[in-house]
Amino acid sequence: MSAASLPAWVLASSLLPAVLIFLLPESRRRTRTTLNLAAAGLKLVLVAAMSWGVVRNAPHEVRFTMWPGAEFILRGDALACLFAGLSALLWLFTTIYAIGYLEGAPNRSRFFGFFSLCVASTMGIALAGNLLTFLLFYELLTLSTYPLVVHRGTEKALAAGRTYLRYTITGGAALLLGIAVLYSFAGDVEFKETGSLRAVAESQWPLLRVAFGLMIAGLGVKAALVPLHGWLPQAMVAPAPVSALLHAVAVVKAGAFGIVRVVYDVYGIEFARELALLVPLTIAASVTIVWGSLRATQQTDLKRRLAFSTVSQVSYIALGVSLFGPLGTIGGLVHLLHQGIMKVTLFYCAGNYAETLGVHDIRELDGAGRRMPLTSAAFTIGAVGMIGVPPLAGFVSKWYLGLGALEAGHPWVLAVLIASSVLNAAYFLPIVHRLWFRNASAPWPDERSFGRFETSLWFLIPTLATAALTVGAGLFAGMPFSPLQWAMLITRREYLP
Amino acid sequence: MSPALWYALVGALLVAVAFAAFAAHTHVVRRLLAFNVMGTGSFLILVGLAQHERGPDPVPQALVLTGIVVAVASTALALVVFRRWFAATGRVALPEDDTP
């Protein structure tokens, strides 16, 4: 394989397994497991190799013409590696988790097939080198997640699937229209650090604003910007690994990542500010952060509370991006990673409680810390990290976001951050309190025994690994290749042409 | 008025009458009759108008020959289908048209 075609191989490393898994008979459990894990491992290696090329300033690129005037471009630039690395890492863990989770369940071929397809779409979104390629994978993600949302085949799951589709397909149409409008006068828009639309004549600026609004609206659906977030809490009926990877990471991050791409690599941050596009985005993100947190405090179902927390937390990324200034950018980008790692930990834990104890409601969690100390410890780390307690990952993000707000001259954003942190504490700490400081008042609803360990090893290993990463990302933020350093690298390139 | 034009005019009238019949009848055989008359009418127009403009002309005649063959093939097929339909249901009109 030639080095330049690396992005294609990264994509293929989940696309081919997807096809193979679809073709595997349901009963070939071992083959499927091996294939899944091997592909996940291979992808991690490939993404690492790609990142090395970025550091050496030699990004990889694959392109061909789909039809006259429309190119298909995959490119491994710094931003792509950030998202691809996150997805590849969490895919590995979530695959392990899912193998344990679906032990003995029906339709595993279908599940893992679409699961791999989802990751392939996420990789495509990360690596897309122009808007059209981005759109292509963005829609593919919608299609491949639908079967996962409705996987259980219950009426409730199907209703959630319908809501999901209504939001995402309409959002996709808005995005398509936005991109089409942009293409109609700017031609094939490639992603380029510092943007590529500056040359557009001033007479077209109103159209540029329309296109921006449409694209952000389309991306905002997946990024769960209020009021476009309605699908996310409902989609929590999906199996735990799906909620974990897709609705904490892949889908919502695809939206957020798209916003990052549009602002930085299509419009260019400076140009976007000149067009006065950023302040509305800042406001929308701030509203979402507060609203999501408020709603989260009202939920008693654990996964729904986490879902609203996601609504709130993902908007930190949009917030960081829309604050004009390098510090805000660093905060937003690093949060893309940190939030993913922390939230996936929390979802794993929620899955562990549900699968081991049958607990779905927060009020049933009393005393779970004694029954499942490792899981509960991981949950505590994730929760505290989310609140933003130093030295965990969440603190790093919030620190830079706050600095960025001051630098950009939006001190009111600080108030949003503080309010959100207080609310974070208000909905996470009671859970932590219940876990450790209350005694179980009733027997667990549906307890299963997994032998020597508190729960299945398939569950425990990913949970602990991501919890460890949460700590590590904060503690070692100064080390080379840490998320923070990578975000700084990207920021340097976005601001210094 | 040349004979050719006269026959074209007759053809036009035939088409009009037949189209009215096609729309008015629901009986499949009657509609086929109407279709055939309509076809003949258009053939007359085709040849009549052309020869009115340019005198005897083999091209439209060749076209009409083809048209006659096509028309009889269509009629034959329609009758075959109709008879199977009639045998199966005892109806002579199509269900949607079969208003009481």
Partner: protein
């Protein structure tokens, strides 16, 4: 004189066609249709198209007429006792 012939023939065509299309009796309609075909053959002769006249006589009037007779006959024989009165 030939003009007279053309006029009479044209009117005859319309008459026969009208009868074939609007006759209450289906059988009568088919007979009139055959007659119509025959008159059209004459019209083709007047239009200096003997080949078409030949085809019209053989196919338009002859074959189509026979097919229609066949179908109508079939209908009549079956109509003697219509299946569950659906006809």
């Amino acid at each position: 004189m030939t003009l007279l012939f053309d006029v009479i023939l044209g009117l005859g065509l319309l008459l026969a066609a009208g009868g074939a299309l609007w006759s209450r009796s289906l059988f009568r309609a088919v007979v009139l249709f055959v007659v119509f075909g025959l008159l059209v053959a004459l019209a083709w002769v007047r239009l200096e198209a003997p080949d078409v006249a030949l085809a019209e006589a053989a196919i338009g009037a002859g074959l189509t007429g026979a097919l229609l007779f066949d179908a109508v006959g079939h209908l009549r024989r079956t109509r003697r006792d219509p299946p569950d009165g659906a006809a």
